[in-house]
Amino acid sequence: MAGFLFRRSVYLICLVVLSTSAAYLLAATQLNPRARYEGRNPPPPPAVVDATLDALNMNDKVPVVTRFGRWVSDLTRGDLGQTVDGVSVNAELNRRMWVSLRLVLVGSILGTLLGVAAGAYGAVKQYRMSDRLLTVFSFVVLSIPVVVLAVLFKNGGIELNRVLGFTGDTRLLYTTGEITPGVDPWTAAGILNRLAHLVLPSLVLVAVGTAFYGRYQRNAMLDVLGSDFLRTARAKGLSRPRALIRHGLRTALIPMATFFAYEFALLFVGATFTEKLFGWHGMGEYFVDSVTKNDVNSVAGVTLFVGVLVLLAGFLSDIAYAALDPRVRV
C-alpha cells in the first residue's frame, strides 16, 4: 500500500512539473512582454527596455531554454519570479488566494447546501410542482453563461439601488470591489460595507451552485429511492423522513463527493468570470490579467498553483469516498 501511494505521488508530481513547464514554455514563446514598452511615448531607449526585461527574466532576445533554466533554478529556491510590474509572484499569489476565498466561500457553501437540499427534495417529490420548478430553474441557469449571469445580477443591483434611491456614495449593494476605499474594515460599518459588496457576486455563485448540485443530487437521489436497503430501513421501523435522510441521502451523497472535493480545493482558485465582472482582485482575475499583460512568470505561477490544488482535490475526493462509502474501506 505504501509503495502504491509513493508511486502514485511521484506520478502526480511529475504531472504538475510537466504541466507547469508546458505552460511556461507556451507563455514564454507566445506572450510578448516587450509590447508594454513599444507603445510608450516617448519610446524608452532599447538598452533600458532590454535591461528591464532581463531583470524580469522575460527578454525575448535570450533563448527560451536559458530563460526556462533560470526560472527553474529560481523555483527550486521557492521563488516564482516577478510579475511584469516588478512584484513578486509569490506575494501576488499569497494575497490573491485569500481575496478569492473571501469572495467564493459563502456563495459556494450556500449554493452547495441549497442545491443538495433542493435536489434531494425534488427527487422525493418527483414530478410534483416543486420538483418541476427546480428542474426548470436548473435547466435555465445552466444554459446561461456565467458571465451573462454576472452581468444580469450586477445590473439588477444597480437598478435596485436606483429604484430605492441609493444614488449617493452610500449604496445598498455595491457592484465593484471588496470594500469601499477608506472604510476601516474592522468596524461595524466596515463589516456591513463588506457584506454589501459580497451580496451580488455571492448570489451569482449561489444560483450556479444550486442549479448544478440540484440537478446532480436529484439524479443521485432518484437512483437510491427505489433501493432495497431503503425499504429495509422503513421495515425495521424508521420513520420516512429519518430513513430518507439517514439511509437515502447519505448514500446519494457518495457520487457527489468528487464534486465537493474539487470545489473545496478550488475555492482558492476563485471564480474567474464573477471576480472579473465585480472587480475583485483575486486569483480568477489574475488568470485573465496575466495573459492580457503578457506576464510570463504569472502564467507559470498560476498554472503551478492550480495544478497543485487539482491534485490535492483528487486526494481529497479519494478520502471523502472512503469516509462516505463503507465498501471502499477494506
Binding site: A23, V148, V151
Partner: protein, 300 residues
C-alpha cells in the same frame, strides 16, 4: 430474401421486432420538451443561415443614418453605436456559435472515443501513454492555455480556435470510454473477432465503439452546448473569435456594458444564445431518457 427467412421473421410479433433504433426514436419523439428543443435548434439553424439572404442589412454593413437606434421598422433589433444592424450581427454570431459548437463537439467526441478505446483495448504501454496524456490535459488550466494561444487565431481561420476548444473537452469522456472498453474487451463477440485475426483497430471501430453509441451520441450533444458556453466565456475577454468576425460571445462581451442604457444591443444576442443552449440541453436530456432503459415511465 429467401422464403424461409421471411417465414422465420413473421413468427415474431411486430412489437418484438422493433429495432432498438426505432424504439429510441419513438421514445424521443414522445418526449415533448426534447421535440420542442429540436424544433428550436432547427429553426435557429435555418434563421441564422437563411435570414442574411433576405434581409436588407449585412453584418459588415454600417447604416450612417441610424446610430444606436432602438428596434424598429428598418432595423428589427435596432443598431449599435457605429450603425451596425443588431439583427444581422446576432444572426452572424449564431452561425459562428452553431458551427463552433457542432464541429467542436464532433471532434471532441471522436477524439474521446478513439483515445479511450485504444487505451482500454491495447493496454500496456499504449494505455499508460494515453492515460498520462489525459491526466496531463486535466491538470492544465484550459482557459489559460487557450487564452495564451489566442493571438494565433488573429488573421487565421477560427478552425484553430475550434480545434483548441475541442482539445480540452474530451478527457472525461475518454476515461469513461476506456473503462467501458476494458469490460467489452472480454466479451465473446470481441474475443471471437480477435481469434479470427481481425486487427485491433478494426475491432475497436466495428465492435467496441458501436456498442457505446448511445453514450457517444449523448456526449456529443452535451458537448455542443458546453462548447458554445466555453466560446462565450473566452470571447467575452477577447480570447476567442477574433474581429472582424463576430460570434455570440464577442457580441455579448462588446455590449455587456450597454445592457442598462441600450438594452437591445445586449439582450438580443444574449436571448438567442440562452434559447439555443437551452434547446440543445433539452435535446441532450431527451436523448439520455430515450437511450436509458431504466428511466422511469419508459415504454416501447
Amino acid at each position: 430474401m429467401p422464403d424461409v427467412w421471411r417465414h422465420a421473421g413473421s413468427e415474431t410479433s411486430p412489437e418484438e421486432a422493433t429495432s432498438r433504433l426505432r424504439l429510441v426514436g419513438r421514445r424521443f419523439v414522445r418526449n415533448r420538451p426534447a421535440m420542442f428543443g429540436s424544433a428550436i435548434v432547427f429553426l435557429f439553424f435555418a434563421l441564422a443561415y437563411l435570414s442574411p439572404l433576405v434581409t436588407q442589412w449585412q453584418y459588415t454593413q454600417l447604416d450612417f443614418n441610424a446610430f444606436l437606434e432602438p428596434p424598429g421598422g428598418t432595423h428589427w433589433f435596432g443598431t449599435t453605436q457605429n450603425g451596425f444592424d443588431v439583427f444581422a450581427l446576432t444572426m452572424r454570431g449564431m452561425q459562428k456559435s452553431l458551427v463552433i459548437g457542432l464541429l467542436g463537439a464532433v471532434i471532441a467526441t471522436v477524439l474521446a472515443a478513439t483515445v479511450g478505446a485504444f487505451a482500454g483495448y491495447f493496454g500496456g504501454a499504449v494505455d499508460t501513454a494515453l492515460v498520462t496524456l489525459i491526466d496531463l490535459l486535466m491538470v492544465l488550466p484550459a482557459f489559460l492555455i487557450i487564452a495564451i494561444l489566442s493571438p494565433l487565431f488573429l488573421g487565421r481561420t477560427w478552425l484553430v480556435f475550434v480545434l483548441l476548444l475541442a482539445a480540452f473537452q474530451w478527457m472525461v469522456t475518454a476515461r469513461i470510454v476506456r473503462g467501458m472498453t476494458l469490460s467489452l474487451r472480454e466479451r465473446e463477440f470481441v474475443q471471437a473477432a480477435r481469434f479470427m485475426g481481425v486487427p485491433g483497430w478494426q475491432i475497436i471501430f466495428r465492435h467496441i465503439l458501436p456498442n457505446m453509441a448511445s453514450l457517444l451520441i449523448i456526449d456529443a450533444t452535451i458537448n455542443v452546448s458546453s462548447l458554445i458556453l466555453a466560446e462565450v466565456g473566452l470571447s467575452f475577454f477577447g480570447f476567442g473569435v477574433q474581429p472582424p468576425d463576430v460570434s455570440l460571445g464577442t457580441l455579448i462581451g462588446d455590449y455587456a456594458g450597454a445592457a442598462l442604457t441600450f438594452p437591445w444591443e445586449f439582450y438580443f444576442p444574449t436571448g438567442f444564445l440562452v434559447a439555443l443552449v437551452l434547446a440543445i440541453n433539452l435535446v441532450g436530456d431527451g436523448l439520455r431518457d430515450a437511450f436509458d432503459p431504466n428511466v422511469q415511465g419508459a415504454s416501447r
